[in-house]
């Protein structure tokens, strides 16, 4: 028997009972739509989180002073520091890096006329913007000349600019006072947006050497050496992050004269690690949501089986007749499987459209930028088809094994 003829027969049978067919596929429709929509929303959430982290530079490593283990009780407490000399040594020795940016950060009151703001003032080098993914909106960056001459110049963040200069569209060239010292604004940074934890646009950047000599002074000096809060290192690519991290450990342990048994007195935090941890969590959540949605597909499959069993018993005489005119068992089996497959495929297609529609609505409502993925569509669709096949087999098998004579006599 031709497949096309079988499909035609099945469609005709299903169209004859429109309401029943619609109710039968409802479970599959809801299941597939839920899988597609939830996966789309999950994927959208994942990529929005990862893109925010990636905006900080996903190849970035942050080095800070500090021990990760608690000191042994009774042992003398020796605070850990990160020195300017550590930066120099790292800058000289590290390979596979795209940039290295030391920074010393302090909190000061910054004023301009009657406006004032308590802001972090960070002493930086010329690599800082690149390593931390900042861009200049207006004006120029801090250069090596500013550092050697210890110029009183400042780059300000977008939020700081509006706080201090509410009425001045372009504050470049204007003066601000930090701790009663005049600084000239040489540039304004482009907005990076909030990470949800901190406002990355509320900051003032000054040349590191200017900061040491004029602002931080004694605070930034320990054991006769200049200290740093953080050294940000940007690896040349995602693949070299791990190797750069172990180079840093090696160099810093050597710099700090640590013995084999000593613990590290610095911490390296890895954006890529954070990224993979977070995206791992979100993708697990997405899979979990998808799996819950898939359960409703299972329920839908049982619905199909139920209706097909009813259909088999309603059509017992037809099956008997088909057998009497020469249909083999496999013909009957195939006929009913085609019907359940037609139901589940139709349900799958409607479900995909509905799911994509839900994702579209969620995106239009600006809740989250849902991303319908090809894999989620394929997955839920093939799952729907598999369910149609699986739950169709039993009723079809029952139909195929009816005794023709009894089937013909049934009412």
């Amino acid at each position: 028997m031709l497949i096309s003829q079988n499909i035609l027969t099945a469609l005709r049978g299903l169209m004859a009972n429109k309401l029943r067919s619609a109710l039968t596929i409802l479970g599959i429709v809801i299941g597939v739509a839920a899988v597609v929509a939830l996966m789309a929303i999950g994927n959208g959430a994942t990529s929005s989180i990862t893109s925010r982290i990636a905006s900080n530079g996903s190849n970035m490593l942050n080095i800070q002073a500090g021990r990760s283990q608690r000191p042994v009780a009774g042992a003398p407490y020796t605070p850990a520091y990160l020195y300017y000399a550590d930066y120099e040594s790292l800058a000289r020795t590290l390979t596979d890096i795209a940039g290295i940016a030391p920074a010393y950060q302090g909190r000061f009151t910054v004023t301009q006329g009657i406006n004032s703001s308590s802001t972090s003032v960070t002493g930086v080098t010329e690599d800082y913007l690149k390593v931390n993914n900042y861009e200049i909106a207006n004006g120029r960056a801090i250069n090596a000349n500013d550092r050697t001459k210890q110029n009183d110049v400042a780059l300000i963040g977008a939020t700081t600019a509006t706080d201090l200069f509410p009425n001045t569209p372009d504050p470049v060239g204007m003066e601000i006072r930090i701790n009663n010292i005049n600084f000239t604004v040489i540039g304004v940074l482009k907005s990076k947006g909030s990470t949800g934890f901190t406002n990355q646009d509320d900051l003032v950047l000054i040349p590191l050497e200017t900061g040491y000599s004029r602002l931080y002074c004694a605070n930034a000096s320990q054991n006769g050496q200049k200290v740093l809060n953080v050294i940000a290192v940007s690896a040349s690519s995602a693949d070299t992050v791990d190797s750069v991290s172990s180079q840093i450990t090696f160099i810093l342990r050597h710099q700090h004269h640590l013995k084999l048994a000593d613990a590290d007195d610095f911490r390296i935090s890895n954006q890529a690690q954070l990224l993979s941890t977070l995206s791992g969590v979100t993708s697990t959540l997405t899979t979990f949501l998808g799996a819950i949605a898939a359960l409703s597909l299972l329920v839908g499959g049982i619905g199909i089986m139920n209706i097909t069993l009813v259909s088999v018993s309603e059509r017992t005489r037809e099956i008997g007749l088909r057998k009497a005119v020469g249909a083999r068992k496999d013909h009957i089996l195939f006929q009913f499987l085609v019907e359940t497959m037609t139901l589940s495929i139709t349900g799958g297609v409607i479900g995909i459209l509905l799911g994509a529609g839900i994702a579209e609505v969620v995106t239009l409502l600006k809740l989250i930028t849902a991303q319908v993925t090809f894999s989620s569509v394929m997955l839920s669709f093939s799952f729907a088809v598999a369910i149609g096949l699986f739950f169709g087999i039993y009723p079809a098998y029952r139909a195929a094994n009816l005794e023709p004579m009894e089937a013909l006599r049934s009412e």
Partner: protein, 251 residues
């Protein structure tokens, strides 16, 4: 039709045919050592009250069931040894069924109903269509091919069913109470159709009926009771459809 010799051919050869059903502990002998032969081109009736075994005999002759013991040779084929698939194949090639309730597929045109048996064989579409049109013409429904069963009268529906039974050129046409759901006038017309198929194209026809009036339209009557053949007689004066009336015949 694939005759194996030119001589009158034993189309059906039934030897010691026995069918036992098991109802719990009880054995029911629906058929008990039944023997008979049917030649090609015969028109006969199998008669008997309900419970006589005629339906069981019909389902075995029609290859819908196999006997418990004994042998059944149809057109040279030992049917009693066949499995389900082989039986379906024999039904498809050698048997045409006509039922009391017509058993047409609803929402399906007369032509498509007649095409149904061909959909289980490997005939190409065009040849199948031509064949089905021929069969419909043979039963006088050439102008009703597009009609659905609910647009046809009972007699017309039974004609579609007969066309469906004929479309595979069956060796035997088995009719199970074919007039049971029709009024007597239409029933006579249907009996006339069977008689002309028998006369004009030499179709072998087996009527299964409890109705002696219908049985007397055939040339030979087998009477069954309690699983045995009690008489197997030639009907010397078969009734001609349309000329006899039930009341006259029953005198």
């Amino acid at each position: 039709m694939d005759n194996q010799s030119d001589a009158p051919h034993a189309l059906i050869q039934v030897v010691d045919l026995t069918k036992i059903f098991y109802m719990g502990e009880n054995e029911v002998h629906a058929l008990d050592r039944v023997n008979f032969i049917v030649q090609k081109g015969e028109m006969l009736a199998i008669m008997g009250p309900s419970g006589s075994g005629k339906s069981t005999l019909m389902s075995i002759i029609g290859c819908l069931d196999v006997p418990t013991s004994g042998s059944y040779i149809l057109d040279g084929l030992p049917v009693e040894k066949m499995n389900d698939t082989q039986l379906a194949d024999v039904r498809s090639k050698k048997i045409g069924f006509v039922f009391q309730q017509f058993n047409l597929l609803a929402r399906t045109s007369a032509l498509e109903n007649v095409l149904l048996p061909l959909s289980y064989t490997n005939k190409n579409r065009r040849a199948a269509r031509d064949k089905a049109m021929q069969a419909l013409e043979l039963v006088g429904l050439k102008d009703r091919v597009k009609h659905h069963p609910n647009e046809l009268s009972g007699g017309q529906q039974q004609r579609v069913a007969i066309a469906r039974a004929l479309v595979n050129d069956p060796a035997i046409l088995i009719a199970d109470e074919p007039t049971g759901a029709l009024d007597s006038k239409t029933g006579e017309e249907i009996m006339g159709l069977f008689q002309s198929l028998h006369k004009d194209i030499g179709q072998t026809v087996i009527m299964v009926t409890h109705d002696s009036f219908i049985a007397r339209h055939t040339d030979r009557i087998l009477r069954l009771a309690d699983g045995h053949i009690i008489t197997d007689a030639v009907n010397l004066n078969p009734l001609k459809a349309g000329e006899a009336r039930r009341s006259d015949a029953e005198m």
